[in-house]
Symmetry: C2
Subunit: 454 residues, 2 copies
C-alpha cells in the first residue's frame, strides 16, 4: 500500500517508528515491531489507513454512510481480507459481511465478534473500524499461531450501525437478531427521501429477503465487540481498557415546527410566527430537561437542525430538528422522550406554531451479563492491562445482540473523547491493547463454554 | 404569451374576467378592460407573468438572485420592453438597466423612477417587479397619450436590491449614488465563497468600472418608487395606497458560534460545548431584546441559521447565524445591534464557546422629504384613492437614493403581508391603483419642479 496518501494534516497511520500514540492524529504505518507474538501494530495501522481512504477526504474526515457505494466498497475490501485470513466469507441478506472458521468440535455453536464499517457524515477513522480490524487481527493471530478453538468462529462486519442516514441505528445487528423486517426497510427514509429498501435494491441487495439474515436461535453462543470509547473516561484515568456493563437506550424523535415565513423588515415583532424562535426554545428546554438533577445518566441532544427558507431577510417559516435521548435507565429514557414531546407542544401552543413529531426509533438500554464481563476482566488481569467497568452512552451492535445472546464489549480510549468528527483518534498501541484483551477474552470464553458442555 | 403555464396552484396572472383581486394567488391574464385611458391591467398582468417565469418554479416561487443568469435574463427582457416603449436603453456599469426619454426642456435634470428585478431564494412574484412593470406602464401611457414632460425621464430597473446573495442590500442604488466601490465588490462574498466582483465578471460586467455607474450630482431631480407593502397594514385598513414617510435602517451581523462536535451518546451533559444550545440562547435573547417596551419600532430577526455537522448523533460543533436588525430610529438601530453583540459575547463566555462576529452591512434609516410626499398625496386625493402615510420596515432603493436626492415611495397592499415567499400576492387592480398614483405623482412633480425653475 502506498504510504503518504494522508501525508498532510492528521495523515498516515504509521511510518517513522517511535512512540505508538500520536495525539496529533497521525497513524504511523511502521511503528515498533512487536517483540513477541501478538497483534501486529503495522498490520492494524495499514488496515485502518486503507479503510480511512474509502469515503475519506484525503485527510481525516470519513463519510461512509450506510448503503452507499463507499460503504459497500469497505465491505468488499474487508471481505477480501477475511478470505485471505482463511475465513469462509459471505455477504448476508442485509449486507453484513460474515466470515467463518470451523472449530474443533462440531456440536458447539459459534462464537461471534466484530463491529461495523459505516460512518456518520464527516466522521472519524476509528468508530466501528477498530472493532472490525481488531477482529480481523484476531483471525490472523489464530491462523498464524495454528490455534483451533473448540467453537466455530464468526467474524462480522455489520452494515448500517450508525443511524446517520436512515435515522435508526444498529440495523445490521437488528437484521441478524430477527428485529428488522422488509416493512421497516420501506418505512425508513433518508434526508433525500430514499427508502432503506430503495437504497438496498440500488446496490443489488433485495430488501424483501432481509429476514434471511437472521441467525437461528442458539446458533451463536456469545458476541464480543471491541470499540473506541467515544468519551473521555479512559484517557482521563489513564486506563487501557473499558469493560462495558450497560449500554444506554436511545429514543430518537423528529420534530417539525411550522410558523410563517414573513419579510424580516415588514413584520412587527408581535405579529410574527417565528419557527426558529420556537425551535430555539425547544433546544434550550431539552438541554434543561437533561440537566435536571434526577436525570444524572440522561443525555439529550439536538444534533440535526434545519431552518427553512434560511434567508437573511425572511423570518424562518419552519424548522426540522432531530432529538436524541439516551439513558441507561429504561423508564427514565422514555419519560424524558415524553417530556420532550410535552415541551414541544407547550412551546408551539404558546407561540401559535404548528407542530409535528414522530418517534423515529426507540431502543432500550442493555445490561450485559456479569459472567461474560468477568471473563473479559480476567483476560485483562492476566495481560496486566489497566481497566475498569463502565457504561456506554453510545449505542452499539452488541447492545442489540445482547437481547438474544450473551454479549460483551471492550472499549479502548478515545483521545479527547472526540468521536463522529475527523478529530476522532485512538493510538495504535491502545488498539493493540484492546485486541490483546479481545483475543484473551475469546480464548477464555471458548474454554469456559466448551468445558461447560464437555 | 402562452397562458396556462402556471395553470396549477397559484397560476396565471389574468384569464377569466371577473374581480381583479384573487387572494388565492392567481393573476388573471384577461381581466376587465379598462373603461378609460389609464394603466392596462392585462398588460401589467402579462408582464408580471412573464417575469415570474424567469427563475420561477412553474408555480409561484421565484429564485432570481443577484448576478445570476436568471437575473440578467430578467434585465434583458425588461430592457427590450423599455426599448419597445420608446426609451433609449443602456445597462450601466453595475448592471442596472436604464431607459431614458427626453423632456420638453433641455435645462432640466431627470426625474427617475423604477425598482428592482432580483429576488430572494424561493421568493415571490411581486417584490420589486411591481415597481418595474409599473414604471414601464407609465412610459407606455406617456407614449400612447403623446405626453411630453418638461423634465427628461429615467426609468431604472436596479440590480441586486435584495441582500439575499451577498448579504448587503441595495447595491444597484448604492452604485448610482456613488456609495459602492470596486473594493466593496471584492469584500462581498456569497454563501459559496464567490465574491460580488467574480460574479459580475462571470456575467461580463467589469467590477473595476463600478464607479462609472454613478449619476452625476444634480443630474436627477427626484426619484419615485412604487413597491408592494410587504406588511399587513394597508390590507387590514382596506386602503389602496401607502405613502412612505420613513424607511427603516438595517444592520446585518454574521455570527459564528464554535463549540465542540462530540458524540451525542458518549458525552455527559456537563462536559458539552454545544454550539446549537448557545446559538438557541442567542436567538431567544435577540427576540427578547427586540420586544423590549422601549423598542417599539425595532424588529430583529435571525433568518439564516446553519448547524454543523448537522448529524443526529453529533453534538453541534458550530452554528453560523445571520442577524437582521431594523429600526426607523437610527440611534436605536445601532444600540440594538450593539446589544446583540454583547448578548452573543455573554452567552458564549458563560458556555465556554468561541465567538466570531462581523457587521456585514449597516444602512441608516431614511426620512423622505415632506414636500415630495405632499405631491404624491395630492395625486392620491385627486384620483380618489384611499391612502395613508406610513413607514417601511423593509429597505428599498428609494432609501439609498434619498441620501442624494428627494425620493418618494408608494406602497400597494400585500395580501396577508406575505413577502419573500411564494405566497406573496398583490391583486392587479391594486397594482393599477398604485400605477395611477405613481403616474399622477410624476406629472405633478414635473409641473411643480418646472414651474419652480421656469
Amino acid at each position: 500500500m502506498a504510504t503518504g496518501d494522508l501525508a498532510k494534516a492528521p495523515t498516515p497511520l504509521v511510518e517513522d517508528g517511535g512512540e505508538g500514540t500520536r495525539p496529533d492524529g497521525e497513524i504511523r504505518l511502521t511503528p515498533d515491531a512487536p517483540d513477541e507474538p501478538g497483534p501486529d501494530p503495522v498490520r492494524l495501522a495499514q488496515a485502518l489507513q486503507r479503510l480511512s481512504e474509502i469515503g475519506g477526504d484525503g485527510r481525516a474526515s470519513v463519510s461512509r454512510l450506510a448503503f452507499t457505494p463507499e460503504e459497500r466498497e469497505a465491505h468488499r475490501v474487508v471481505g477480501a481480507w477475511m478470505a485471505e485470513a482463511g475465513l469462509t466469507v459471505r455477504v448476508d441478506a442485509f449486507g453484513n459481511t460474515i466470515g467463518e472458521r470451523p472449530g474443533a468440535r462440531a456440536d458447539l455453536p459459534f462464537l461471534a465478534f466484530g463491529s461495523h464499517l459505516d460512518s456518520v457524515p464527516n466522521g472519524g477513522r476509528f468508530d466501528g473500524i477498530v472493532g472490525v480490524v481488531g477482529a480481523l487481527e484476531i483471525v490472523r493471530l489464530l491462523e498464524e499461531g495454528g490455534v483451533t478453538t473448540a467453537h466455530p468462529l464468526r467474524m462480522v462486519a455489520f452494515a448500517n450501525e450508525e443511524g446517520a442516514r436512515f435515522g435508526e441505528a444498529c440495523l445490521g445487528s437488528k437484521a441478524v437478531t430477527g428485529m428488522l423486517s422488509p416493512r421497516d426497510a420501506e418505512r425508513l427514509v433518508d434526508a433525500d427521501g430514499t427508502t432503506l429498501a430503495a437504497a438496498m435494491a440500488a446496490l443489488g441487495i433485495d430488501p424483501r429477503q432481509i429476514e434471511e439474515a437472521r441467525w437461528p436461535d442458539g446458533s451463536v453462543a456469545a458476541f464480543l465487540e471491541l470499540h473506541i470509547e467515544q468519551a473521555r473516561l479512559l484517557e482521563a484515568r489513564g486506563l487501557q481498557v473499558g469493560i462495558v456493563d450497560a449500554v444506554a437506550g436511545n429514543t430518537r424523535l423528529r420534530v417539525l415546527v411550522h410558523g410563517r415565513a414573513d419579510h424580516s423588515g415588514g413584520t412587527p415583532m408581535e405579529s410574527r410566527k417565528d419557527a426558529l424562535a420556537g425551535a430555539a426554545e425547544i433546544v434550550l428546554g431539552i438541554e434543561a430537561l437533561a440537566n435536571e438533577p434526577n436525570r444524572r445518566t440522561t443525555v439529550a441532544t439536538v444534533g440535526r437542525f434545519s431552518v427553512s427558507p434560511n434567508s437573511i431577510t425572511t423570518i424562518p417559516g419552519s424548522v426540522e430538528l432531530a432529538v436524541d435521548v439516551r439513558d441507561i435507565d429504561s423508564d427514565r429514557q422514555r419519560d424524558t422522550a415524553w417530556r420532550v414531546v410535552e415541551l414541544c407542544e407547550q412551546v408551539c401552543a404558546r407561540r401559535g406554531l404548528d407542530l409535528e413529531h414522530v418517534v423515529v426509533s426507540d431502543t432500550s438500554p442493555s445490561v450485559l451479563p456479569l459472567w461474560l464481563r468477568r471473563i473479559t476482566k480476567d483476560g485483562c488481569v492476566e495481560l496486566g492491562l489497566t481497566h475498569r467497568v463502565m457504561s456506554s452512552g453510545a449505542g452499539h451492535d452488541a447492545q442489540i445482540l445482547a437481547r438474544r445472546m450473551p454479549a460483551a464489549m471492550l472499549f479502548v480510549p478515545s483521545h479527547n473523547g472526540a468521536s463522529h468528527v475527523p478529530e476522532e483518534w485512538t493510538g495504535v498501541d491502545d488498539i493493540v491493547s484492546g485486541v490483546r484483551a479481545l483475543y484473551a477474552s475469546l480464548l477464555r470464553l471458548d474454554r469456559f463454554l466448551s468445558e461447560e458442555v464437555a
